[in-house]
Symmetry: C2
Subunit: 404 residues, 2 copies
Amino acid sequence: MKLINGGVCAAKDFLASGIHCGIRKNRTKRDLSLIYSKAPAHAAAVYTTNLVKGAPLTVTKNHLADGVAQAIICNSGNANTCNANGIEVAEEICSLLGREMKLDPNDIVVASTGVIGQPLDVTPIANGIPALVSALSTDGGEAAAEGIMTTDTVKKEVAVEFELGGKTCRMGGIAKGSGMIHPNMATMLVFITTDAAISAEMLQRALSTDIATTFNMVSVDGDTSTNDMVTVLANGAAGNPEITADDADFATFMKALNTITVNLCRMIAGDGEGASKLLECSVTGALDDLTARVIAKSVICSSLVKAAMFGSDANWGRILCAIGYSGATVDVNKVEVKFRSPKGEILVCENGAGVDFSEEIAKEILLEKNIDILIALGDGNGAATAWGCDLTYDYVKINGDYRT
Amino acid sequence: MKLINGGVCAAKDFLASGIHCGIRKNRTKRDLSLIYSKAPAHAAAVYTTNLVKGAPLTVTKNHLADGVAQAIICNSGNANTCNANGIEVAEEICSLLGREMKLDPNDIVVASTGVIGQPLDVTPIANGIPALVSALSTDGGEAAAEGIMTTDTVKKEVAVEFELGGKTCRMGGIAKGSGMIHPNMATMLVFITTDAAISAEMLQRALSTDIATTFNMVSVDGDTSTNDMVTVLANGAAGNPEITADDADFATFMKALNTITVNLCRMIAGDGEGASKLLECSVTGALDDLTARVIAKSVICSSLVKAAMFGSDANWGRILCAIGYSGATVDVNKVEVKFRSPKGEILVCENGAGVDFSEEIAKEILLEKNIDILIALGDGNGAATAWGCDLTYDYVKINGDYRT
């Protein structure tokens, strides 16, 4: 398992592109992306649990009912959500792309991200599709990663190489995150491609299992988006024997998938809206893994913890507070808290009470960009990690007037 | 039922005081408050549900086991929470006050608010108690309201006059709020006094019933504090026949209590840390009241809604989003949303989708300080109101470096 350069075009027989078609006013920003597999691929997806669901998710869910897809089209600048004609528009986008590429619209995944509740004009997309399709290439992964960005400040892509049945396989992914990030049984927009051969059933199982400890453990602002979706396409071009059961190859595949997803989680959290720091909260010694997850997520979601981290302030009392209100079963008198960064590690709380520590050293550790909050509970063997970011002036600025 | 001037000294035979004893470095800030009833009073309280509980809460709970109290002492500047010797310190404060006032320490309510996890030095409190007790007067309510403030920018007090059994009764309260405000089955610090005669049992019942729709519906930042507490003292000095059952007098008492608590809720939310606006979210037409409460609270807690309100941006899609992820059962295709302020009212969403509306008029409405978010669901007769505030640069500033 090794990390390699690239994103959605790292795996064999995947092409991608990203263009500016005119949904976004800023002409320097790409707003339409396409990912294409030369052959039909097995496909799996997970979706937001928000009752208010973006129209593209409903259309995609129908299209993936047979576990097969060949292309993914995604626009930024408008979420196509809470619009009376949202479903029609999402279906029209698939029809237009299908006609241009001679694909069955049912084999197309459609996604949208951006502002909610403003009708999505299909005209710029219709006009842009020919250029989008002509731009498809194995070098287009980066452009595709850019085309799905909203308030993201950096594009997010990652790829790995691994071996299955003596064949070299690759997997790569791109993500868009930034705000309204608090996935629950699904997530922000993530598109993953692989040339490994795997049945649609096992692909869905791999994805559904993985997200519980990855994307569902990321929070930027506690708001579960209406348009969250993760999709994986597996086209089998690597030529490995197709994975159809929970065997050693499946375990390898899961490991590759987890490498992609954990890396994307870190990128999404670290580039949370306005974020100046990536926070990684690791809980060990919980009664069970689920308890650990509840606690890790409660800490990473606390506005007060997030603001303290922005100020590089070792205010561990707020961490204890967030553990206490998490709803998890925990003996608060045994809690240990440490902060860690590339500058070192410092113990700040033991047995649920403060210890003497150097504020200067703590400050030096917390001034770094990547901060680990390490919580040891002493209640059992449950463990979990959650990813988040600090709460900054820029978060307020970005969200105080997002639409105008 | 009429609102009158005053706070905890509005009711007969209550005295109060507030001084600077030296817990806080700033000598112009009072940090120690006392409320005293000339005769022992029936007492009721509710406490935070956070598993990490401030030591003063544990001590107060013991002292109120018999339903009687005569004094409340509260310091600001230090929460006396997550300290190895917290219980001892809280008990010593009661002993010192008991000795000075010739009161049984078991009749004293003790509370603390401020930073968590730093040992509370009892010396300034011990040195301050004689001055605190000599300062007791019927004019001391305001000083007491000031002595419990932390990052609050205004003192919070309210009083009402009402009639029970032909006797004029009064009730008044003070509160401290601002940050770490997301009460759950209890709240921030609130002290209420009344000269109405009511049994300890009915007093507790009144309080426990009331908070479900008042303090539990306030959120500033989603963080449930370790030190939340609401206490009511009823000394019977008004001379009304003691309320001992769920009768008409009890209903009047409940109405008086609700007037006090709703006013304090609005004050606490409007003075949330860094807040520039008070948000009041009213949900009607829900399946039941509980559903309405879940939805109202989800909207008021959304960082994205709060930031949009800071920017006076009619971004109603974020409200739909927060309704959708609230966990409540709701038909999202029937949701109607309006914004209202002293400048007028505007419909922005109908049947779960956007309507044409004037952005200029919406902006004018949302530039006001008091904003109502009106959500009509059309699912049933459940209703609820929640109070919150906008998310501002100042919230981040205040909490980025609270301890130093």
